[in-house]
Amino acid sequence: MTTANDVLSALQSAFPGAIEDAKVDPERQLWATIKPDKIVDVCKYLRDNHNFDHYSGAAGVDKINEGLFEVTELLASHGAHQVVALLKVKTPRDNPSVKSLTGLFWNANWYEREIWEMLGINFEDHPELYPLLLSDELVGVWPWRKDYKGYPDYTTAERAIERINSEGYMEYHIPPTEAEIEAGTVPVERPKYPSLREREEMEIKGESEMILHLGPQHAVVPGPFLLDLLVDGERVKKAFLDVGYIHKGIEKIMENRTYVQGIPITDRLCYMAALTNNEAYCGSVERLLGIEAPERAQYIRMILEELSRIQSHLLGTGEFLTLIGSAVFCPFLYMIIDREDVLTCIESVTGARINHSFVRFGGVRNDLPDGFKDMTLDVLKKVRQKTEEYKELFLSDSIYNKRMEGVGVLSPSEARRLGVSGPPLRASDTPYDMRREDPYLLYKEMDFDVITRKEGDSKARIEVRLDEIVESCYIIEQCLDQIPSGPIQEKLPKRIKPDPGEAYYRVEDHRGEMGFFVVSDGSDKPVKVKARGPVYAYFQALPPLLEGTYIADVVAIAGSMDACTSEVDR
């Protein structure tokens, strides 16, 4: 088994002088600072010789005191070993430029685009440096830089001026005030790039092709995003995705809150996964603080996160069924009934049904109430029975099977290349599960199977979700049997001030790999919080997946991903 130390010594011998400072902390994470001109070579070496084939994301950090930007690339492996490599590249603040990894990893594209539009770090050789989350008028102000003075006040309607834009439509323009110009919140020079509309129209080649818009507001999309399909007859030739309609700047908000105040904000990333988001954030801050939750607290977290997984999969599957044909297959409300029971179980511990804010640094908020075990076992019995019923129902339905089989097939190598994780990856015959790969909490003591399917189509994805519900029931039953008594909260000082440093912690969200990258400078507020969400990767993988399919299958493919726009836009 490859360990982080092996990888580090191999790197040091292969690239003498390119690795500036390196450490292994904790045991499976390798932190290294790489010389900027060597980063592509190092990543290529790691990918080809050490099986680092999973590009997990990138985070940009503004170190204004040192006059530097840092880009941290997260690399991992799809099951060959458990090492996570976090490679840092430094670049000066006045002319920031880093080499792009898009040539090595296809899915580096969006992560680098996001860093470019937010921090203004140029990525050399990046094929399409266009804004992703920000609207066009905010590009060029670089809002995540530490010296940015706040968003301009675009809400004052009195200042709005009507004008005709280049396409002949009337639009409102709000000229900036003098105070805003002085504060530097108005972009001085905007980068030049073609707009989404121009990029789409460039692709239209013949008379028979047209653009079909799906969204931003559409009955079958899980939140606002724009899916533009370039269609030739019934076939989709190319798909364009535009996200950022509900960009909330959660990562920037968390930089302006203390560590504890960040916990309720993480709920709002995606309300279906509130508990796992809490867990990922609290876990990374616990790593910074160097503490661990007591055993009972870890069991409580596991029970609730698995319950949360059940309710998310139930709703995800139910919602998907309404998408593909609400009149014919509609056990959606059946699933809502089951989900309500599961939510009641969670609520009896956390005190809320959706936004739990439950996990704390080094513990949990409440202990399990009396009678929780009996209630949960009852609910689990029912959920298990109903899930078997659904499986039988889907299996026996010939219309459903015809609609789903062989639709949106992701081959294992393709799924790995696109960087998806969670059920879509496991449906493509890749047993990649953070509970096994990067065991957090006490999952290594639990007995469970990682559900996989060979087919990789939409049907397999739904089957994986339904099977995972049953598997989660099994994990919860084990936890309820084994849970010890004891304290639920580690003693902590009132003001939490971690030592300067970084930490990365990832958990298995209901949808895949959810990681939080937190940077501390010793004060009571984080310097940078980066949320690496699973749905971001799904969305990025959607356009190549939709190419060549029929229009009627678009919803069946996009819906089977169980997406959540709120987490993509953050």
Partner: protein, 186 residues
């Protein structure tokens, strides 16, 4: 196939699971840990402002409240909560050092105006003092203040006397020292 599915539907419809809740007439059972509208134990509150400092949305403001305990401090302030901004995360409850702020099961707080959602201490307080108790407490506070004043005056007097004595002693010593010096010189 169709029959099987129909059977499931029929079974579901007669299985007796109560799905629809008769909401305004009958609310569902809420657990004890439910995070609803706050309850402030006015007798325990020490007005430290920890809740206002931890609030991520800055919705708690400390305001003066005339029915507070006059024994402690007449200028003590109590939390006022703006539910238009509150996200019911419960951090204020966790952080309260006197355990006086808790959350209740009340969740129906809709109002006609924005100001209806701003709950003053009067609205969230329990264990409020009656007029008689307040009068007694005020009397006690007045007495305590008087006592304090008297003690302070006494202490000041004693201090003054001590200071005078010390001065006198010092002067005396100085004087004797001078005399001694004179003697020596002679």
């Amino acid at each position: 196939m169709v029959l099987k599915n129909l059977k499931m539907t029929l079974k579901r419809s007669v299985s007796g699971v109560e799905v629809t809740r008769l909401y305004p007439e009958k609310t569902m059972d809420l657990p004890d840990v439910e995070r609803g509208v706050h309850v402030l134990d006015i007798r325990k509150c020490i007005g430290c402002g920890a809740c206002a400092r931890i609030c991520p949305n800055d919705c708690i403001e400390l305001v003066p409240y005339k029915r507070g305990n006059p024994l402690k401090n007449k200028k003590q302030k109590y939390p006022q909560i703006d539910y238009g901004r509150c996200m019911f995360c419960g951090l204020c409850v966790d952080d309260c050092p006197a355990d006086c702020l808790t959350m209740s099961k009340v969740f129906e707080i809709a109002g006609w105006e924005r100001d209806d959602l701003v709950y003053s201490p009067e609205k969230i307080a329990v264990g409020k003092y009656t007029d008689q108790e307040l009068a007694e407490l005020a009397e006690e506070a007045r007495k305590a203040a008087e006592e304090k004043k008297r003690k302070a005056a006494e202490a000041a007097k004693a201090k003054k006397a001590k200071a005078a004595k010390a001065k006198a002693a010092e002067e005396g010593e100085k004087g004797s020292g001078e005399k001694a010096a004179k003697k020596k010189a002679e």
